[in-house]
Amino acid sequence: MPQAASSLLDLIGSTPLVELTRIQPEGRRMYAKLEGQNPTGSIKDRVALAMVEAADLSPGAELLEPTSGNTGISLALVAKLKGLRLTCVMPANATPERRTLLELYGARIIESPGELGSNGAVQLAQEIVSRDERYTMLFQYANEANPRAHYDGTGSEIVADLPHVDALVAGLGTGGTLMGTGARLREAFPGVQVVAAEPLPGDPVMGLRSLEDGYVPPILDVSKLDRKLLVSNAEAAAAVHALVAREGLFAGVSAGAVVHVARRVAEELPEGAVVVCVLADGGWKYLSAPFWRGEEIDERTLWW
């Protein structure tokens, strides 16, 4: 029998793995790792805890992080329980659920221009940290504790749960999940394919003034990916609807992109193949998003 935990932080990780029997292609098995089961509801709890512990901060230290949501919420929980303060820099057009949650957890928020998207939040946070010494920026995009959390946690848990894996599919954000989990799985299953599902960026990125505003996270080494597949918003929305309709699994929109790619990869692999998908969070924080209400997503008006 499980024992009672003495802290929510002890409940981070060790997430369940479930077979997607109604979605997997015939003759192949797809397993979903349910990262929405972490204490704040996303995979970022692992990253936040690992980064804070690696930084060895004194109580009262002030963290500042550019985040569009999940990482901020995870850092807010970890900061609270470890006696630290947190300020999040986030695009002004982030969903109200995210903002409210951050404030409830006690984080302070600084808004960056919505039209500059997450790149704009990163730039503003870097400017603030460079002129104000009070702040420590853990910066998940460049922090080695991020992929290490997935090597030690996510990856090791999958290795313990399955005798063999042919492909790992995860969303491409900072690159932490793919780098860390991928490295651990390659040790255990040398032929495993590490596959990135890349959502087509939301429209705020249209505001990028130039290509030089672009950004490749330092922890992401694209050469360590076997494949990197773009997923349209419509494809991701269809998959996220299928997850809840067929499997009863209420997941976030990035999970839709991951499952869409995982199905494609599974179909291309030989019979008997095992594909693991990492579903980063649940659907709760996206209820205000138009795709849950069945609104048509017109890719062309956004991009082409």
């Binding site: 569009s68 969903t95 998207g117 990135a196 249209m206 290509l211 672009g214 490749v216 996270p217 976030g252």
Partner: protein, 94 residues
């Protein structure tokens, strides 16, 4: 000829076009043809024999960097997508 989709950040260089056409049986040939047809766009994407670091090139939805790079085959029916590299996570907080 393959369709090349142009992201908003590069449309000025493409004379405002959302998509242009270019031909080639590999990504290298296609980008060289693109540079000849639309020089301003071509040089932002491809210079000194390499894809510029802040640009991702996708053939039929797959990043050519995880395929055969400039040697990745392109078919007449292929759609080529150009996108700026960007920090992860959906910018609007989804």
């Amino acid at each position: 000829m393959s369709v090349v989709r142009v992201p908003p950040v590069l449309r000025l260089e493409a004379g405002g076009a959302r998509e242009v056409k270019a031909s080639g049986s590999t990504v290298r040939e296609l980008l060289e043809d693109l540079a000849a047809r639309v020089p301003a766009l071509g040089e932002r994407v491809y210079a000194d024999g390499a894809i510029q670091s802040f640009v991702n090139v996708y053939v039929d939805g797959e990043d050519v960097r995880t395929r055969d790079g400039l040697d990745t085959p392109v078919r007449e029916s292929s759609t080529v997508i150009l996108l700026p590299a960007m920090a992860g996570g959906c910018a609007s907080g989804c």
